[in-house]
């Protein structure tokens, strides 16, 4: 049974929680000491390279590897024809090496292991593949039509058999009640994570048949399971798989799945008997690890004369690409804003994921939420306009409130939406700035996201093993992952707070499936909440044990004792105190002595979504509001951000500096999504797979971000905290679109909001 932890704020004051603690990994990173997968070398290691498809859709007639095999230094050349079949992906529709047919440019046709990366790269060029090109389909709506080329013949249709559907209340009734209704179409582009560390892994088999995979994965334990499944195909069922997580050079969701390249590396290691490393080039990173699903959304909402929302009706088509990853489940998260952003009773949502010959996409920060929120929040403005109500007032009127239960049966605990709305209104000077229509304008957007884990699997837990040594130092073995968001720092703060030690006394280790307990992965903004509670509870157990012993030794009632400043003190008696390390040695060095080691597995009090896609799947919900003031150059279409405010209800800011880092980073990614990012494909082929042409913001492009941290002290979170990993990027795009509307009266419904689109919209407006 899940535990609900009371925040225990002892002796008045928190010493480590709430402090601006610089990220513990920062110095290593800036000094180049951090070991990324690119830096790891094993003895006898070989280098792998993949031969990618030359077509978006084609039959493989033959593969001739003879020339490649003869190249000196080549140790193995593998194809789908000389290896056992391994299928990966959410519905296992993706064979790691393609046979008979390729369905996208991202398809793996063959792979090589060689003594050096250069030889491997040379060798793949020597592989002769004869293809017979097939007609492709690159538009999801065309792919849905009768007679469209089938991407997977055996599936009988390009529409995935994952029918996403949610109904709440009665939408028809809601339409009747509405005095104003708006219906619109929105489109969202293909964008990608742009991790600075490219993807890669090392696979190493041991003499006993066990496998070690070094990988910057966000999901050590789910990856371990996927690799374990693949061991069967190699005749190694029952052998152990160990995943060692190397420093993650950016995750953003890209590493919360396993991909063919990892299994190819395992195969190469298996056949050569040597460790094999395979790391993507930047070009490969762009076309072989893309991100967020492109979405076409049709949305309508209605409201009464007074501005109360009466219904929300959303249809979506997602371009799934050629294969199915976890990304195909993003509609389950889109349901969250659709059902629970603002109070609206009557909801209908239907989404289809459709196969095309485009490269398949993955999970990405926000996990569907940015797409859905762009449509909802842009339309809140058009609806408010139609109803003649100030969009801020409209939002206030429909806002979520603490303690409510939403139509999807989310149990909203703490909720600072109102505080966020008020803060953004004030900082933006909303009343003064709005409604000028002179090229300058203001816009806002609210957001909701899970902030207390998300029960996607049967377990949403994280494990902690915590030990104290003879010197008062604490080691925390946690199954949580840090990918730059600062989990290690925050976990150290939590443990230091609870055990009354300094942050530098706490070493957080998060890296090895052989050492740590299970974890669901760094997704759903859950590491601080779930990993934090797990660490807090473990620390509390250790504290109990220490104080129990101290009580006997110091002859003081246990309840009067507390830990602080590396000491144990008594509240009753100022004379009584003892250094923590001394106490720990006393526990250890005696007959039947022991070192203090505890473990904890925390699984939040939540349920999985039921068949109707309802249920309280997160233990807490995070709210926020983006506010932006823009100036639009009416000739060039350039948008200048004059002011950017983000207010987030984070429960409690365990480390305000880290929170600001998340908010600013999220806004940078959100601004990119809003203004310039788009992976452009021409018949399935990436056109702009480099950092010149795939544009993310540079530092000079980044406006100053004013962060407002709203604290609602969530009763279930560690010291009251909620997750904020993903939400900061969710509301950027609608806030900007709404500001552009306020500035010029043009409504951009397609991302990114490029100068070309602004100029075209202005022209259309002039014409009409």
């Amino acid at each position: 049974m899940a535990k609900v932890l009371e925040p225990q704020i002892k002796d008045g004051q928190l010493l480590k929680i709430g402090q601006r603690v610089p990220k513990l990994d920062a110095w290593d990173k800036v000094q180049g000491r951090t070991q990324y997968i690119h830096d790891v070398k094993l003895p006898r290691m070989l280098y792998g390279k993949i031969l990618w498809s030359k077509y978006a859709h084609a039959k493989i007639v033959s593969i001739d590897t003879t020339k490649a095999e003869k190249l000196p230094g080549v140790r193995a050349v593998i194809t789908g024809y000389n290896t056992p079949e391994i299928r990966v992906g959410f519905i296992k529709d993706n064979p790691v090496l393609k046979k008979d047919k390729v369905r996208q440019y991202r398809d793996e046709v063959a792979a090589v292991a060689a003594d050096t990366a250069e030889i491997a790269a040379e060798a793949v060029k020597l592989i002769d593949v004869v293809y017979e090109e097939l007609p492709g389909v690159f538009d999801p709506e065309e792919a849905m039509q009768e007679g469209a080329p089938l991407i997977h013949e055996e599936k009988g249709s390009n529409v995935l058999k994952l029918p996403w559907k949610m109904l709440c209340g009665d939408v028809e009734e809601g339409r009747k009640k509405a005095d104003f209704i708006v219906e619109e179409n929105y489109t969202l582009p293909f964008v990608t994570h742009c991790c600075l560390g490219t993807s890669g892994c090392i696979a190493q088999f041991h003499a006993n048949g066990n496998l070690t995979v070094y990988s910057p994965t966000q999901i050590r334990y789910l990856a371990q399971k996927d690799f374990q499944d693949a061991m069967k195909a190699l005749g190694l069922k029952g052998k152990r798989v160990q995943v060692i997580q190397t420093a993650i050079g950016g995750g953003f969701g890209s590493k919360l799945d396993t991909y063919p390249f990892e299994f190819i590396t395992i195969l190469l290691a298996h056949y050569t008997g040597r460790p094999v490393k395979l790391v993507y080039t930047r070009e490969e990173e762009f076309f072989a690890s893309p991100g967020r699903q492109p979405v076409r959304a049709k949305i309508s909402q209605g409201c009464t004369k007074e501005g109360k929302l009466t219904f929300r009706d959303v249809d979506m088509i997602l371009d799934n690409g050629a294969y199915t990853s976890w990304g195909a489940t993003t509609p389950s998260v889109m349901m969250m804003p659709i059902s629970s952003l603002y109070q609206v009773e009557n909801i209908r949502y239907v989404a289809k994921c459709v196969h095309t010959n485009n490269i398949y996409s993955t999970a990405m920060r926000g996990y569907g939420n940015p797409q859905a929120t762009f449509a909802i929040e842009s339309q809140i403005d058009t609806l408010a306009e139609k109803a003649g109500i100030d969009p801020w007032e409209f939002r206030m009127l429909n806002r979520n409130k603490p303690g409510e239960i939403t139509p999807q049966r989310f149990e909203i605990g703490s909720c600072g939406m109102e505080e966020c709305l008020v803060a953004v209104k004030e900082k933006l000077q909303w009343d003064e700035k709005r409604g000028k229509g002179n090229g300058r304008g203001v816009g806002i957007s609210s957001l909701i996201h899970v902030g207390g884990g998300a029960r996607i699997y049967k377990s949403d837990g994280t494990g902690t093993i915590l030990k104290l040594d003879d010197y008062g130092k604490v080691t925390v073995l946690t199954s949580a992952s840090d990918m730059g968001q600062g989990s290690d720092t925050v976990l150290a703060q939590i443990v230091a707070e609870e055990l009354g030690v300094e942050i530098e006394d706490v070493e957080v280790i998060m890296k090895d499936t052989n050492l740590e307990i299970w974890d669901a992965g760094a997704h759903a903004s859950r590491s601080t909440f779930v990993g934090g509670n797990s660490a807090l509870y473990a620390a509390r157990k250790a504290k109990e044990e220490i104080l129990e012993f101290a009580a006997g030794m110091l002859k003081e009632p246990k309840e009067s004792l507390y830990l602080r400043d590396r000491m144990v003190y008594s509240r009753n008696n100022a004379e009584v105190s003892m250094a923590l390390d001394k106490l720990l040695r006393a526990i250890h060095f005696r007959t039947n002595g022991r070192q203090v080691v505890v473990s904890e597995f925390y699984d939040p009090p939540t349920v999985m979504l039921d068949r109707e896609m309802k249920g309280n799947f997160s233990a807490a919900y995070t709210y926020g509001v983006h506010g932006v003031e823009v100036e639009v150059d009416q000739e060039t279409g350039h948008i200048k951000i004059l002011k950017y405010v983000i207010a987030m209800d984070v429960g409690r800011a365990l480390n305000p500096m880290a929170v600001e880092g998340q908010l600013e980073g999220g806004c940078a990614q959100g601004l990119g999504y809003s203004l310039m990012e788009e992976l452009q494909l021409d018949k399935g082929k990436v056109l702009n797979g480099n950092f010149l042409d795939y544009k993310i913001l540079t530092f000079p492009d980044m406006p100053n971000i004013e962060s407002v941290i709203v604290e609602t002290i969530d009763e279930k979170g560690p010291f009251g905290a909620k997750g904020i990993g993903e939400p900061p990027l969710v509301g950027s795009a609608p806030a900007i679109a709404n500001a552009v509307w306020d500035a010029l009266g043009i409504r951009i419904r397609d991302l990114p909001i490029t100068p070309e689109r602004i100029v075209a919209a202005l022209e259309a407006k002039k014409g009409s």
């Binding site: 310039m676 452009q680 950092f691 000079p700 070309e756």
Partner: protein, 293 residues
């Protein structure tokens, strides 16, 4: 596996000898910010790299006898920091201000920018507007080429086999001239222009245009002077309306292309929007009041 031999001649003579010795298999290396990328992408596959870094006569900015002479190996950073260029040839300073990043500007050279022949080269439109002459040196001796004739197509230049660009010679602008280059790009740094606009204006005391030069890049396959637009403004009072009309004329002389980066249509609109702005800045730099009427 590609093996490259790196040469570092200390005189032009040695560089010529190396070029002749290795022929087609050699490439000249300046800052390498274009070439190394092309080598990695295997669009260029030399076996020998001949660095020009240690040849003294290519490294200086010199201003004498009414002429600015920029050595081919002068980096964008040196141009950016040259007070003289900023004052007297402002459009050239504009061109390098937002080129790449400081790191790129520290190594990338003006010679490389020009010799690479990319339509997106930021210094191209300014040197065309400035009427620069390129000093090319080779086994057959030295020759000078007008920069407009140097650019022959995307990636194609008048540089003959075995030749080295030594310097860019730029005549001083007439008294009372003002100039400006606008790089129209999506980002503020690390971006190539979608359109480059260089304008030089010489007004008389009554704000009538005595001379105008308008050079555009990415408005066609190679940078060019919009001669009809220039003729249109010459002799006319320098008002915003005149420049808007001149911009329309410039559009009629242009032939921009549609690519995945942007559309021809958008580029044309930007020609209209930005020529008047470049002119406005150029005039402001002449330091006289403008557009009173």
């Amino acid at each position: 596996m590609r093996r490259l031999t790196y040469h570092e001649p200390e005189s032009l003579k040695d560089a010529f000898a190396l070029l002749e010795g290795h022929g087609e298999t050699a490439k000249l290396l300046a800052g390498g910010t274009d070439l190394i990328i092309e080598i990695k992408q295997e669009t260029k596959t030399p076996d020998h790299l001949i660095s020009l870094r240690c040849i003294p006569e290519l490294q200086d900015i010199d201003y004498s006898n009414g002429e600015l002479c920029i050595g081919a190996m002068v980096t964008h950073r040196m141009i950016e920091q040259s007070k003289l260029i900023r004052e007297k040839f402002s459009l050239l300073a504009d061109a390098v201000d937002n080129l790449g990043s400081v790191q790129v500007r520290n190594v990338a050279t003006i010679g490389g920018n020009i010799c690479n022949g990319a339509p997106s080269a930021d210094t191209a439109a300014p040197v065309v507007a400035l009427g620069a002459k390129l000093v090319l040196d080779g086994p057959a001796g030295e020759r000078q080429v007008n920069v407009e004739e140097f650019f022959q197509g995307p990636g194609k230049t008048a540089l003959a086999a075995g030749e080295i660009l030594r310097a860019i010679r730029i005549p001083t602008l007439p008294q009372g001239a003002g100039s400006c280059y606008i790089k129209h790009s999506r980002r503020k740094a690390m971006d190539l222009p979608l359109l480059g606009i260089a304008v030089i204006i010489v007004p008389d005391d009554n704000m009538v245009c005595q001379e105008a030069r308008i050079a555009l890049s990415l408005a066609g396959p190679i940078p060019f002077r919009a001669k009809k637009a220039e003729a249109f403004v010459t002799g006319k009072p320098l008002s915003r309306e005149i420049w808007e009309q001149a911009a329309q004329v410039a559009v009629s002389e242009s032939n921009p292309r549609t690519s995945f980066r942007t559309t021809a249509d958008y580029r044309k609109k930007m020609i209209c929007a930005l020529i008047p702005r470049a002119a406005e800045t150029a005039l402001r730099r002449v330091n006289k009041a403008w557009m009173k009427g």
